[in-house]
Symmetry: C2
Subunit: 297 residues, 2 copies
């Protein structure tokens, strides 16, 4: 391949996605270990070289990174931008310490909201990517993942945001709790939609609904695939109830993994909201590219 002039790094808790870039053109991509599995700066540097080493020459290579790589448990803590503000500020990037002189890596700031207290790292760059592609977007961006973010966007700024731990809760309940005994691997859309409706209507009673999945499974009334799909629906429905003020009557843009945004789009459609879906990886790259462009100008 021709020589990259910079490298884009979307470095979250569970994955590193790296792109070798020439301007705005993707030359190559690769993936590696997430930030949560790396104990210290040396481990981050070692992991990075394992993933992008082939793209380096003798010269220092500019790299821009977003995500949990900049958290307190990451490579080095990057600052937070306050709300309200634009989701991107290349002047607030922090340089990661590295022994290898070929590594010229800077991490984008996250965002912090004072009250109610909330933080994000990585999602702000995806929002910046969406705004780079749709500069006039005005509405709400929902970013389902381990920690789902809901952000209100107006005039190119993140006005406020809120996190729901739905993704992590689903992961814990379906793989670590007593409910795991009755969970399949497949998907049952009808059970999912029934769960969404129930969770949305009875969000206040969520704590009393979860164990029913186990009891109905023991009674042979609920298949493992239906149980897992209904659990997902229940939690997403309860999240929609909790976040009602964020999506009701709003233009909603969903950013994330396609299978996950599809679930949220289906759940929102049941409430009469037709949300648009955007691929999370593409939005990260668009945001990092925007940061690269602004940084050079």
């Amino acid at each position: 391949m021709s020589s990259p002039d910079w490298i884009a790094l979307d470095w979250g808790s569970t994955n590193l996605r790296a792109h070798a870039m020439q301007g705005t053109t993707i030359l190559a991509e690769a993936s590696g270990p997430g930030a949560a599995s790396l104990p210290d700066a040396m481990a981050f540097e070692f992991a990075l070289l394992g993933v992008v080493g082939d793209w380096l020459s003798d010269a220092a290579m500019p790299m821009l990174a977003c995500g949990m790589v900049g958290s307190r448990q990451g490579w080095i803590e990057a600052p937070y931008l306050p709300t309200p503000s634009a989701p991107l500020d290349p002047s607030a990037m922090v340089r990661a310490p590295a022994r290898d002189p070929r590594i010229d890596l800077r991490i984008l700031p996250g965002m912090r909201q004072a009250s109610p207290a909330d933080v994000m790292r990585g999602e702000e760059t995806q929002i910046a990517g969406l705004l780079a592609l749709h500069p006039d977007f005005d509405g709400v961006v929902a970013l389902p993942g381990t920690h789902n973010k809901w952000a209100r966007i107006s005039a190119g700024e993140v006005v406020g945001f809120q996190t729901a731990m739905t993704g992590e809760l689903f992961q814990l309940l379906s793989t670590q709790s007593v409910l795991r005994h009755g969970m399949g691997e497949g998907w049952d859309e009808a059970a999912f939609e029934a769960g969404v409706t129930e969770g949305r209507r009875d969000a206040e009673r969520l704590m009393a609904r979860l164990f029913t999945l186990r009891a109905e499974g023991l009674a042979g009334e609920l298949s493992p695939d239906a149980a897992r799909s209904r659990l997902s629906g229940l939690l997403i429905g309860a999240e929609l109830a909790a976040m009602r003020g964020w999506w009701l009557g709003q233009d909603v843009a969903l950013i994330g993994a396609p299978t996950l945004t599809a679930r949220y789009a289906a759940a929102l459609a049941l409430q009469g909201n037709e949300a648009r879906q955007h691929d999370g990886g593409a939005m990260s790259l668009a945001g990092l590219t925007k940061a690269r462009t602004e940084d050079r100008s």
Copy 2:
């Protein structure tokens, strides 16, 4: 010690509590591994002999057991009593297969409710113990634990019950989720009570409240002890909201570990409900003793 004439076994998921009994008198007690850690019948037998071996002579020893030892993942599956019915039916006990002829062990049935689907194992014996000590009790029994049970008692029968997974959810969130980074070991009663009030009032918004603990911790606004106590309060408050129909205007008896029933008593007191507390181990033993008495008569 003098010779026991039977052994009482309270064998839950995480603990075995054994009592060497002479009639209704406790001669000795011992503890051992919970049912969840034992893979098959041989492992149960081996674990049991390790705990009660010293209490056995050459003759077969009658033993009565309750709890998850009778689940599908236990020693052998015991039947369920339907609701409504009395919580104790010695005629429905099942014998556990054992190679050692000194083991004459029978497991008490659990209880099952058809609709909404629900199950319990072990708690029905604690309820039977409460009723043995307070035959005229009429009201609601709440049994906080990993899976909290709320049961309506009338005329000596369990009329219906419902499970909330609050205990397991607290365990998962405080030790496995991202919230674990900000959790202390101590207790902050004021933070707990604030959490109860918030969880009770905003149960519908629970999914959006949890991450705030992490964000406030990162911002230095919430101490680790206060974070853990508020998480406990939030979940218990949300449970009280979900179970409102079970305790509002009812006589509530709490059965469980004293530290846990104290938390629920405090949370209920904030709602103006003065619940009475009963020790879970004592109620199990009273229920098993009642079964032994009825079985012999």
